[in-house]
């Protein structure tokens, strides 16, 4: 339409003067504020649910008109005990007797965050390249499967064994990422559908492997593999009192690596260009197919490394549940982290903390661990829809709203 052309023609990119009010407005319009408020809103809604589920509140409600204050007190108690339990479970256990007990929660958070960092990095790369990879779950499983086999069936010298096992995890994941990549590049098959389906194929392959003697403990028919050898396991980095393992450091290095790849390398340049405008990328001589396959394969490898954090780190033996729900949670991590490595690491630590808080919630506040899932998904929904958050907190709308696509 002719008007469109003229509209862009007149679009001025001038910046507003930086006086205080403009600054305040900028903060109110900023993305980071939306992120913070999204977390706050989710915690508030979570609080309502906690109140709803609290037997004490239910009881106090019974005589609400006689002593309304009791209801509010019970509600406050329920929420504060839940969130303080979460704090103790995820950050610092101030009720702990020893330093180790007090310090353990934060290390648990980092341990839980490790697979989320790996998988979230890969998914974030995909999002930036315009690819919707729902398949981290399956990629983790295949990676963990291969890594486990190398870990328990092969005998290799200590350091080498770990390196080979980690590589096997990455290769397994890479293979499972390559398939949707090549199908997308060659036939245009939508990666969302293919990766969803491959998750189930992977789960069944894992189930099949665990039903075979090669993957079972000698003399056992349980669907559980032998433990990986110590030589193939990530060493614990804070001693035996804590589960935090070397995988966390590797994950941080991977984050730096992904940052360098995406921002400072020619490969990442192509990935970004293909994601933002494949037609222009192709016209400028880039090979779009190779970029798609490349991103999916690297993302798969990272998800495979997430599998390594499980199999060579926390779990040590292969079961059907080896991937937990990390692969799906990583999607929310990548979205929350805006697909950037630093954001992904922070989001993974936040969600790792929510996970680590689960047991404390269950034991100390008598609440189902699943409140964490609720808070987690609410955060992502709110962040995806900044206008909703602004509406909830009555913030001014920004002059130019960018719609979140990935």
């Amino acid at each position: 339409m002719s008007a469109e052309v003229d509209k862009t023609e007149t679009a001025e990119a001038g910046k507003p003067p930086r006086d205080t009010r403009a600054l305040l407005r900028e903060i109110a319009e900023s993305n980071s504020l939306v992120v913070v408020l999204a977390v706050v809103a989710s915690l508030i809604i979570g609080g309502f649910l906690i109140v709803l589920a609290s037997p004490a509140v239910e009881e106090a409600l019974g005589y609400f008109f006689a002593r309304p204050a009791d209801t509010f007190k019970a509600a406050w108690d329920a929420v504060s005990s839940a969130y303080s339990a979460m704090f103790r479970g995820a950050v610092w256990n101030y009720n702990g007797d020893t330093f180790a007990q007090q310090f353990r929660p934060i290390t648990e958070t980092l341990t839980m965050a490790t697979p989320l960092i790996f998988a979230g990095l890969g998914l974030g790369m995909g999002f930036r390249a315009g690819l919707f990879n729902i398949g981290a779950q399956g990629q983790m499983m295949i990676g963990a499967m291969l890594g486990a086999y190398v870990g328990f069936a092969w005998n290799l010298p200590p350091v080498l064994h770990l390196i080979v096992a980690v590589t096997a995890c990455a290769l397994g994941g890479a293979l499972w990422g390559f398939i949707p990549g090549i199908l997308k590049a060659r036939t245009g098959a939508h990666e969302v559908i293919v990766t969803i389906m491959l998750n189930y194929v992977a789960a069944n392959l894992l189930g099949f492997a665990l039903s075979k003697d090669a993957f079972q403990r000698p003399g056992s028919d349980n669907p559980q593999s032998p433990a990986v050898a110590d030589s193939a396991a990530y060493p614990l980095i804070l001693g035996d009192n804590y589960r935090l393992h070397l995988g966390f450091i590797v994950a941080l290095l991977a984050a730096v690596g992904v940052w360098w790849l995406m921002e400072r390398s020619t490969w990442g340049f192509r990935f970004r260009a293909v994601g933002a405008n494949p037609n222009a990328a192709r016209t400028a001589g880039m090979n779009v197919s190779i970029a798609i396959v490349g991103v999916m394969t690297i993302a798969g490898a990272l998800a495979g490394l997430a599998g390594s954090a499980q199999i060579l780190g926390t779990e040590r033996s292969l079961t059907a549940g080896i991937a937990g729900s990390f692969g799906f949670d990583a999607i929310t991590v990548a979205l929350l982290g805006r697909s950037r490595p630093l954001g992904t690491v922070m989001a993974a630590i936040l969600f790792g903390g929510l996970r680590a808080a689960g047991p404390a919630l269950q034991v100390q506040a008598q609440l189902p661990i699943d409140i964490v899932l609720i808070i987690q998904s609410l955060i992502v929904l709110f962040i995806a829809a900044p206008p909703l958050v602004r509406f909830l907190f009555r913030l001014p709308a920004p002059s130019r709203e960018k719609v979140v696509t990935a």
Binding site: L49, V194, L198, Y200, N204, S377
Partner: protein
């Protein structure tokens, strides 16, 4: 002048070049035929081994006696017939003759029969229970049918619905909850179950409403919303399962919808128990599929919905409210999936359990794609997946060399093949997933 104009173009209409031949179908059928001939034909035990098929059940109007077939010859004959049909399809491609969908379907049927013969060969203690297999097929297909209809309703109007899983789960949950509450209030399990069935669509519709809020109002990527809503519903149902239901066990009991055998029809051998001895949910499924199939293609509502999903701007210029259509369809779709979710609890006589839908929502998505976004197709694909599932259960009883995991993979692999264009072309509604902005 250095360059010459090209020879006499009499403004001839651009010539249509013949489309290249596609050998995908014959190749696929051929490999299926030959592989099944090797694995299920030749490798079926010979030497007089037989396979027993049982068709009738006690209580049927008349009995069809169980019969034995000589395993190896029959298996070989069936697989050879399948291979011959593959050859026919190759001949068809070469001579540009089109065969209908009956050809691949027949190949499939022949191979399945051969597999059954093979599985039951030489097993004197067990037999192939055809009726049981088919009942299982229909029953296991129920949530898939509702789920894929839900997906279809949304996608035909342009909204991608990945949240089918969550809608099923929400429906299952609310059906159990309301069912339990009403049952304990009225003292009648049946009344409770029906009340649960009525409540289930509300839960699904609520998830659909959330999807449409984010997709239509805030233009959030629909896949993101769908994925996240699935997590949210898992979280919510688990949470209430662990609190509300745990604290009040009467709210989550195993209550079931009564079977409503249709007089006479239900006594027909095979067909009777499979089709006409079911509960109200299954009968509603027949009706909903039939009605939607007519409505989608032959009603004003269906025409407008499809127009909105294909070319929203065109719909807008003839006065159709695009976003209103999308909102309504998405909520309706959610309700249909929620209704189907009742299958897991009140329609199966089970109490609610954590994440009890177990990924059926994603298989429903696959069924919708394989069924090419039509109710009829969705039904066929869902029955196919239900059959694969039912076969897995049967084989579990008989004991065969095919690992159950591979049978379980079939729906997923079939879908990957379909979207990769290896079996025909699937074309989603053109405007799917794109927010409509004026």
């Amino acid at each position: 002048m250095t360059a010459t104009a090209v020879e006499a173009p009499e403004a001839q209409p651009a010539a249509a070049v013949e489309k290249p031949l596609s050998w995908k179908m014959p190749l696929l059928l051929g490999s299926v035929g030959i592989l099944s001939f090797i694995f299920f034909g030749l490798m079926t035990p010979g030497g007089g081994a037989t396979t027993t098929f049982v068709l009738s059940r006690s209580g049927d109007l008349f009995t069809i006696p169980a019969f034995d077939v000589p395993s190896q010859p029959v298996a070989i004959a069936l697989t050879l017939a399948a291979t011959a049909l593959a050859a026919l399809s190759a001949w068809g491609v070469r001579n540009r003759r089109q065969f209908g969908v009956w050809l691949p379907s027949t190949v499939g049927l022949l191979v399945v029969l051969a597999v059954l013969v093979w599985a039951g060969a030489g097993k004197t203690a067990t037999s192939i229970q055809i009726t049981g297999l088919l009942i299982g097929t229909v029953v296991l297909a129920v949530p898939l049918v509702f789920g894929s209809l839900a997906g279809m309703l949304c996608e035909r109007s342009g909204i991608i619905n990945i949240a089918i899983e969550g809608q099923l789960l929400a429906g299952a949950f609310l059906a159990a909850l309301v069912g339990g509450a009403v049952a304990s209030a009225t003292g009648s399990d049946a009344v409770g179950a029906y009340a649960g069935l009525i409540a289930a669509p509300l839960a699904g519709a609520l998830v659909g409403a959330a999807l449409t809020l984010f997709a239509v109002k805030y233009w959030v990527n629909q896949i993101v919303v769908g994925v996240v809503l699935n997590v949210l519903v898992v979280g919510l149902t688990n949470f209430f399962f662990g609190t509300l239901m745990k604290n009040n066990p009467e709210l989550n009991r195993a209550i079931g919808l009564p079977d409503l055998p249709i007089p006479l029809l239900s006594k027909i051998p095979v067909l009777g128990p499979v089709l006409f001895d079911q509960n109200i949910l299954v009968y509603s499924m027949y009706v909903i599929v039939a009605v939607l199939n007519v409505m989608l293609f032959r009603s004003r509502w269906g025409l407008r919905m499809r127009a909105v999903g294909e070319h929203p701007k065109a719909a807008d210029t003839v006065g159709i409210k695009v976003n209103r259509t999308r909102v309504r369809n998405t909520i309706l779709g959610g309700a249909v999936a929620g209704f189907g979710g009742a299958f897991f609890t009140v329609a199966s006589g089970l109490a609610f359990n954590k994440e009890m839908t177990g990924g059926k929502g994603y298989i429903a998505l696959a069924a919708m794609i394989l069924g090419r976004w039509s109710p009829k197709g969705a039904l066929a694909a869902a029955l196919l997946f239900g059959f694969a599932d039912s076969l897995r259960e049967q084989f579990g009883i008989i004991g065969t060399a095919i690992p159950s995991q591979f049978l379980a993979m079939l729906p997923y692999l079939a879908t990957i093949f379909a979207v990769a264009g290896l079996v025909g072309h699937v074309r989603p509604p053109a405007a799917e997933g794109i927010p409509y902005k004026k």
